[in-house]
């Protein structure tokens, strides 16, 4: 690949984010590569595994209790990406700690653990338990707190759209997480994302992950009704790239907070756009579903 002149870094070299050194800058996004354990048996020409060159796998968001998620269909393909309404189906935090995290460590997968909760103090409790269980883990690099699931109906309140709530969640997590990186994943469905980023950074986040999915809807023409049972879904893929770039830029320009860019990355050129705006690292979501090697290919392409 022809790399532009201004591109000087090797995204497969270690870099420091908060208290932690990550093995690289190309990550997979939460929810699009399971817990980081489904890719080990897959091969592709030129790669030993889908993990080659990855800086981190952000595991599927886990919640304090297991969740069965939303009714089917949960996915809706669009010409410009996809809508999802998985509904945070997950094994629950305890099971994750007991079975998943040890396996990630055993396999040496660089991991960022994604957590969601419905009250700020729950983040503190989960992170504290994680800190205990994973104290000696080498490959667990940090926590991403998911403040932005647009498709989980929680009595309609807009969790994560308010800077004060963001601050409280981040502060609770930070207190319990002395030596791993803390990221706050923000929703793009707000008027002023820079103020959310500022609130997160001021409360101790080392970086913000931007963006989670955009609220979207698709109509089934035959029935005239929304395709997804919950009407709305989270829009991701190529169609959200310009939105993600704008949100990242707003944060870099107005809040000066370190950013991990995510949204619409399908190839090395898309990733470069985030780096051009100042992102520290990037995450690959939807593209990783179609091709388990999407992030690995980007890492290879960008290391020249």
């Amino acid at each position: 690949m022809n790399l532009p002149d201004w591109w000087k870094i090797d995204p497969c070299e270690p870099f420091v984010l908060g208290p932690r050194e990550f093995p690289g800058r190309i990550w997979t996004a939460s929810g699009c590569f399971a817990y980081g354990l489904t890719g080990h048996e897959i091969s592709s020409r030129g790669f030993t595994s889908p993990y080659e060159g990855l800086g981190a796998v952000v595991s599927k968001t886990v919640t304090p209790m297991a969740r069965t998620g939303n009714p089917m269909p949960r996915l809706c393909e669009l010409p410009t990406g996809a809508l999802n309404s998985i509904g945070l189906e997950n094994v629950g935090f305890d099971e994750f700690l007991a079975s998943v995290l040890p396996e990630l460590e055993r396999r040496g997968v660089p991991t960022v653990v994604s957590l969601a909760a419905t009250r700020p103090d729950e983040f503190g409790v989960m992170v504290a338990a994680l800190q205990m269980a994973g104290a000696d883990y080498e490959h667990w690099h940090g926590v991403e707190i998911n403040l932005s699931c647009p498709n989980v109906a929680e009595g309609g309140h807009d969790f994560g759209r308010d800077p004060e709530t963001v601050a409280r969640c981040v502060a609770a997590a930070r207190k319990a997480l002395p030596d791993r990186a803390l990221l706050a994943k923000l929703t793009p469905n707000v008027a002023d994302i820079a103020s959310l980023a500022k609130a997160a950074a001021e409360s101790g986040a080392d970086a913000v992950s931007v963006i989670n999915t955009v609220v979207g809807l698709e109509v089934d023409l035959t029935s005239g009704r929304p395709v997804l049972p919950r009407r709305y879904g989270g829009y991701s893929g190529p169609g959200v790239l310009p939105i993600a770039l704008a949100k990242v830029d707003e944060i870099v320009q107005k809040a000066g907070v370190p950013v991990v860019g995510v949204g619409g990355i399908g190839g090395a050129q898309d990733a470069l756009k985030f780096f051009a705006l100042g992102a520290e690292a990037v995450q690959v979501g939807t593209a990783q579903m179609e091709d388990p090697f999407a992030a690995a290919r980007i890492a290879a392409d960008l290391s020249g």
């Binding site: 020409r45 999802n84 388990p292």
Partner: protein
């Protein structure tokens, strides 16, 4: 479920079309050449996606019919945009393949004959099992819309065929009118069969009927389930099927990924009432 010693490794391949031709009024045979040697077990599938401007956000799942060396074969029906695009392409067109994926049908158990039931595009995994494993006492039944929809050249002569509506059939071959499960019922009832195993693939009503058919006899039944898929390899939780969690009452089922824990399930595991 009977486990194989080794499940073939999943590969992400570049590929191109070598054959893309109708084999009946509704079925198209697709052969592709992939960039690695491949293997599969009957019941497994692959995600296919076009390269170039017709690439979709997600691949499309297709059961693998056959595979030898670098060649992989499928049978498909045009139902929407993705399969419509595929049908318009000529040999040489590039695509990507991720596969084989998912759980296979069980291997044959000595002394336990197999009853194979397939409907429409449910043919490939069942036919693949037949070609790989079938023994003289195994029986197969295949249902289609009408005789024109039956890919006669691919169907072993020993198979029994059923159709929804009659029409012309090739010389020496017949199709019975009715549901494929009714045909199996008719053919097998009264025969003194040892406990058998039913393997089925096709529309949901066929699978549910296959389950009832087996249950009534106390036989094992394995069905190949279909759900809309995003990733095909267990990464997205987009393709869940409600199944009975072990030892739990029916209402307390759990979600299984169709792509990873399936597509082959024991019929009795499935919570049919919760399937759309």
């Amino acid at each position: 479920m009977n486990r194989f010693e080794t499940i073939p490794k999943t590969r992400r391949c570049q590929a191109f079309i070598t054959i893309n031709e109708p084999v009946s009024s509704g079925l198209i045979r697709l052969e592709i050449e992939v960039d690695q040697e491949m293997d599969f077990l009957p019941g497994q599938f692959a995600m296919l996606n076009l390269m170039g401007p017709r690439k979709r956000t997600f691949g499309r799942p297709f059961s693998i019919l056959a595979c030898s060396g670098n060649r992989v074969e499928f049978l498909y029906r045009v139902v929407g945009g993705g399969t419509g695009d595929l049908a318009g392409l000529k040999p040489g067109h590039p695509l990507t393949m991720l596969g084989p994926l998912g759980t296979p049908f069980p291997a044959p158990v000595p002394g336990q004959p197999a009853v194979l039931l397939a409907g429409g595009v449910g043919l490939p995994p069942v036919l693949a099992w037949w070609h790989r494993f079938s023994r003289t006492d195994d029986r197969a039944f295949f249902g289609a819309r009408d005789p024109g929809d039956l890919p006669w050249d691919l169907l072993p002569v020993s198979w029994d065929a059923s159709v929804d509506a009659q029409g012309e059939t090739p010389v020496g071959r017949v199709a019975w009118q009715g549901l494929v499960t009714e045909l199996a019922e008719r053919e097998l009832t009264g025969m003194d069969l040892p406990p058998s195993m039913v393997l089925a693939c096709g529309p949901i009503p066929l699978l549910e009927a296959a389950g009832r058919f087996a249950e009534g006899r106390g036989w094992d039944c394995f069905v190949s389930m279909e759900e809309h898929m995003g990733c095909g390899y267990g990464a997205c939780k987009g393709c869940v099927i409600p199944i009975r969690s072990d030892g739990q009452p029916e209402a307390e089922g759990r979600n299984a990924t169709c792509c990873q824990e399936g597509p082959i399930f024991r019929a009795e595991e499935i919570l049919w009432k919760q399937i759309r």
